[in-house]
């Protein structure tokens, strides 16, 4: 799938061996990936694995302590942060929230609110919204400014299952219509948006990466989620061969404990089903990357 991507696609953001260090601890390091125009990259990983940190590095909110982040000059970002709370003392309607970081035309505001199904709430104060409504308002705000790169940190949190499907459908439409690149952080370790071009699994470093397998190809999931979900969701099946202990050391599947990950550490993909990214040369499971001393050997970068 990846090698069919046209080479002339503009790279919006490229991270190479990027890492952030706080209080003598690496929050995340050795991150390599890039997002092109029209491309959807999904970050997955357990809590504290550095997903939000990685997204913040990509958009320049956090400076890297190692490696590089290159952004297209004049890149316009639309950002939906993971946590956002508006103080009760601040009177802020959904409509006013839309123009928080830049002016917009009335039509643009209406379009974005209509797209996310929030037009009827335009005059409501954001503090009165439910979790799902607030997420949709934030998404509307981010897309209304027509960004080159949309960064969504767990956009479906607090949204029910059918709302989640609808939001993924909407994100897909936005990508198709505007051709923007999308960096999505998923709260789920295995279920990602079907349109995702690349899944990057983090656990303090890039554990593995690959393309998701469409839910529709897997009868079990199809049964579980139903036909409508099948179009929007995809499975990224893998399991960890090591876990990170609270003190930063690494516990391997064989019971051994080491100070850091082995060069070949990562995730092992399940062999059952016709997992399209299993042992795919383009998968770049992270093994190649680590084995070759962080040299970028994947075809993706060619």
């Amino acid at each position: 799938m990846l090698n069919f991507r046209p080479q002339e696609k503009t790279t919006l953001v490229g991270l190479s061996n990027a890492g952030v260090r706080r209080n003598d601890r690496w929050l995340v390091r050795g991150v390599d990936f890039s997002i092109g125009r029209g491309e959807i990259v999904t970050l997955i990983g357990p809590n504290g694995s550095g997903k939000s940190t990685t997204a913040k590095m990509a958009i320049g909110v956090l400076k890297t302590d190692e490696g590089r982040v290159e952004r297209l000059a004049g890149l316009k970002v639309g950002y939906v942060p993971q946590k956002l709370s508006v103080d009760w003392t601040l009177p802020l309607s959904v409509e006013r929230l839309m123009t928080l970081t830049g002016p917009l035309k009335g039509r643009e505001i209406e379009e974005a609110l209509a797209a996310t199904g929030m037009l009827h709430m335009a005059r409501a104060e954001v503090q009165h919204l439910s979790g799902g409504e607030f997420q949709r308002a934030l998404l509307a705000r981010a897309i209304a400014r027509r960004p080159d790169l949309l960064v969504l940190d767990e956009p479906v949190q607090g949204v029910d299952f059918s709302g989640e499907i609808a939001l993924y459908e909407l994100i897909k439409q936005i990508r198709n219509r505007t051709g923007c690149g999308i960096l999505l952080i998923s709260h789920d370790l295995h279920i990602v948006m079907a349109e995702t071009d690349t899944v990057v699994c983090l656990n303090g470093h890039v554990c593995c990466r690959g393309t998701p397998q469409a839910v529709s190809q897997s009868p079990e999931y199809l049964k579980l989620f139903g036909g409508r979900a099948a179009g929007a969701l995809a499975v990224y099946s893998h399991h960890h061969d090591h876990t990170h202990l609270p003190d930063g050391r690494v516990l391997h599947a064989d019971g051994s404990i080491a100070d850091s990950c082995f060069p070949g550490d990562g995730h092992h993909h399940h062999d059952e089903a016709e997992n399209i990214h299993d042992h795919d040369p383009d998968c770049g499971c992270g093994h190649h990357v680590r084995l070759n001393g962080l040299e970028r050997t994947e075809k993706r970068d060619a």
Partner: protein, 269 residues
């Protein structure tokens, strides 16, 4: 007209209230009430240094208040103590150092109560020029900084990601606070400046549907409190600063009454 001390106080007080409104809104939105208090308390150190080195009073207060806010930013970044502990340390030590320095200067006699609680008699014509000149400057700066400051209030990372400069806006905001504290000191006094920032803004919250409307309402409510307070102070011969604060408090209490329910969107406040 400005020959009358009362008119001078009124013109100066209203000028300060108009500036304090929008600035005070940010103080409560950003939960910086105690921070404002710390900057205001450090003003007494500014007073003491201005007497010691024979500097202009307002400039000296402005410099000290700015320095204290920068020091706080620096200490916050080091992250050794929580912000409220740092504020407590800075606030009272600046106030105390100021009082100690004043006590050492036996050759000067200052009206300490006037500095702490304000003194309408002290307002001169040149004070009015400075208050209105400085006030207009602050309003222009706030209009210019409005978007980045508001975006950073909601979420600094969002503002940063979308190309606004929240750090710079925050720095300018602190300088504006220092400036307002320096020019407001004579009217309400060091100990009461933050109340003029906070109470009118808090009163305005119930009636405001947008941040901009809240800022304008806060200015108007502040002006009303200054007018009421000064008239009360004249009538009952009470100190000007506390009288203004009491008037502001009365307006705040009025705003809590369940009158015109449809005006206020929220009653949680």
């Amino acid at each position: 007209m400005l020959d009358d001390f009362f008119i001078r106080a009124l013109v100066a007080g209203i000028g300060i209230a108009l500036v304090a409104g929008p600035l005070g809104c940010f103080v409560i939105w950003r939960r910086m009430a105690y921070f404002g208090d710390t900057m205001a308390h450090s003003a007494l150190l500014g007073v003491a240094l201005s007497l010691l080195f024979e500097l202009n009073l307002m400039i000296s207060v402005f410099i000290v208040a700015s320095a204290v806010s920068l020091l706080l930013l620096f200490l916050q970044k080091r992250g050794a103590l929580s912000t409220d502990a740092l504020l407590g340390i800075l606030s009272h030590s600046a106030l105390s150092i100021g009082l100690v320095i004043v006590a050492f200067m036996t050759w000067v006699r200052i009206d300490l109560i006037g500095f702490l609680f304000g003194d309408i008699l002290a307002v001169s014509r040149s004070d009015i020029d400075i208050i209105w000149g400085g006030g207009i400057l602050v309003i222009f700066a706030l209009v210019y900084l409005w978007r980045p400051l508001l975006a950073a209030t909601v979420n600094p990372e969002l503002a940063e990601a979308e190309g606004l400069k929240p750090e710079r806006a925050r720095l300018f905001f602190m300088l504006l606070m220092a400036l307002v504290i320096a020019i407001a000191m004579k009217i309400v006094g060091i100990l009461l400046i933050t109340s003029l920032l906070i109470i009118p803004a808090a009163t305005a919250r119930r009636f405001a549907a947008s941040p901009e409307i809240m800022a304008v309402f806060a200015s108007l409510i502040g002006a009303l409190a200054v007018t009421g307070g000064l008239f009360g102070s004249l009538h009952w011969d009470t100190p000007s600063g506390p009288s203004i604060v009491v008037a502001a408090l009365m307006l705040f209490v009025l705003s809590l009454l369940p009158l015109g329910r449809r005006l206020g969107a929220s009653h949680r406040f």
